[in-house]
Symmetry: C2
């Protein structure tokens, strides 16, 4: 029976810390605010927006929405970016992607100030997580993994960690963050040979393959700690992760569940970044 | 007996290509130029400067020197950076580091245009190598490793690669470049446990530990390809790498020598970047 690394505990601890920080800021006359920029009316975006807004309310963070029609010209989106860049009352920005195809995503990314890039999408934030300079903010899911490990007192120094997935939103940045904490990291992907045996090498496994229940029982061995980053909707409407939980859980030492694992922590990290941005801006 | 992956062959091939490119550019009225910025009179810097200048001459690339006294104020160095940034006749910039302690290295890095950053030191270049977007230029030693592997027709896709060292000038960027070419990478460092066994896992090994003859015979097994990035001066005045060559060579399949390996290729890559920068500026 593995230890279940529940997200709720981590979230509760984060929220308590955030509430305190927001109080301190408000006493100084600063109300941390997140600007949410959405182009179009995609259901996923709107659903995520609702979740973030609810959590922001709980933490005492204000949300300002900037909604553009799906056919808005790039110029208009750039104007919005410039508006939030210069607005001292907006501390962090969440921009839903992918953007419509007529918009150059790189031009938009380049326009956003790294200091307000609470979702870790700018080149400044990417350089920051690669070089460990603290520039910008790391992608929230990557930091959520680190937060879960830290919350449960899981030591990272000198441990072998296998990261499955090399995306810029999770695989690559979490590998760098683990390395900065002295893990020996191996990054796997679609072209990795004999993937199960490479995953079994890891004392800690970060499953960020982006495929529903991709990591089956044969990927695991006794003693491993498994962080499952995936969230997928099964045909019966229930949620699952990148790991086949029912097969992995009896084998490994500890594992995050889906739902109830990393997902909720990620939303919290976004809001935590807004508060951190507000703190920095206040100095 | 291992195959010796000599740098000279690679250099000759690079130089031939560069000469051709420079001719094409000159026919369009463009003379590629490298700006070398040096603060102080450190012997290492001056020696490297001589080597680069000589190779630039061979390739047909002009060198412009900007030499400041060791006590030059930061403002003066920023002025030089701005001068080269706006000078259309300087295509690439090499800035010797470490800078004197009274100068904020990050402020200087931030001032240089990524488009002229042929040595891969700016946040733009670091984000480019991390995200694989082509922004700026990768650090030259990292690209030199890739060039040696490509020249000798060594396939990377799906191979296990162990990188020993996690510095920003070589370990981290070369790991990313190998991953972008579909290698399964493992990054080792001072806190890695049982380092020899992790190195033996690699089908390709990049030795960038920064320590003289640190990788002894027990780090290796049959069939491995070893790229040695180190250059150290031994007490008898001779040069050696990060690998104990005499012990590794009888075991492995192929290995770069020191001297005569990656070092000369690195200088060539710097100059190749200047020519690439000149090409891009000409578009």
């Amino acid at each position: 029976m593995a230890q279940i690394l529940k997200g709720k505990e981590v979230v509760d601890s984060l929220v308590a810390g955030m509430k305190k920080d927001v109080e301190t800021l408000k006493a100084k006359g600063i109300v941390p605010a997140l600007g949410i920029i959405r182009v179009g009316e995609r259901a996923d975006d709107i659903s995520y927006e609702k979740g973030v807004t609810k959590r922001c309310d709980t933490a005492g963070v204000v949300v300002k929405q900037y909604v553009l029609p799906v056919d808005a010209p790039q110029r208009q989106l750039l104007d919005v970016i410039n508006t939030v860049n210069i607005d001292k009352n907006v501390h962090g920005v969440l921009l839903f992607r992918p953007l419509p195809k007529h918009i150059d995503s790189n031009a938009i990314r380049a326009a956003l100030l790294p200091a307000k890039d609470v979702d870790g999408i700018t080149d400044g934030s990417l350089a920051g997580v690669f070089a460990n300079t603290g520039l910008g903010f790391p992608p929230c899911t990557a930091e959520a993994c680190m937060t879960v490990l830290a919350h449960y007192g899981i030591d990272i120094t000198g441990r072998r960690v296998t990261v499955v997935g090399r995306s810029l939103v999770i695989g690559r940045p979490v590998a760098m963050m683990l390395m900065h904490k002295n893990a020996t990291i191996t990054i796997c992907h679609t072209r990795t040979k004999d993937l199960p045996s490479v995953v079994r090498e890891g004392e800690i496994v970060i499953a960020a393959a982006g495929q529903s229940e991709f990591l089956t029982g044969d990927f695991f061995r006794e003693g491993q700690i498994v962080i499952d980053v995936g969230i997928h909707v099964k045909s019966d409407g229930s949620l699952c992760g990148d790991v086949k939980f029912a097969e992995a859980e009896p084998i490994v030492k500890a594992i995050t569940p889906v739902p109830g694992g990393v997902g909720g922590v990620t939303t919290c990290v976004t809001i935590k970044h807004v508060i951190e941005a507000a703190k920095k801006a206040a100095v």
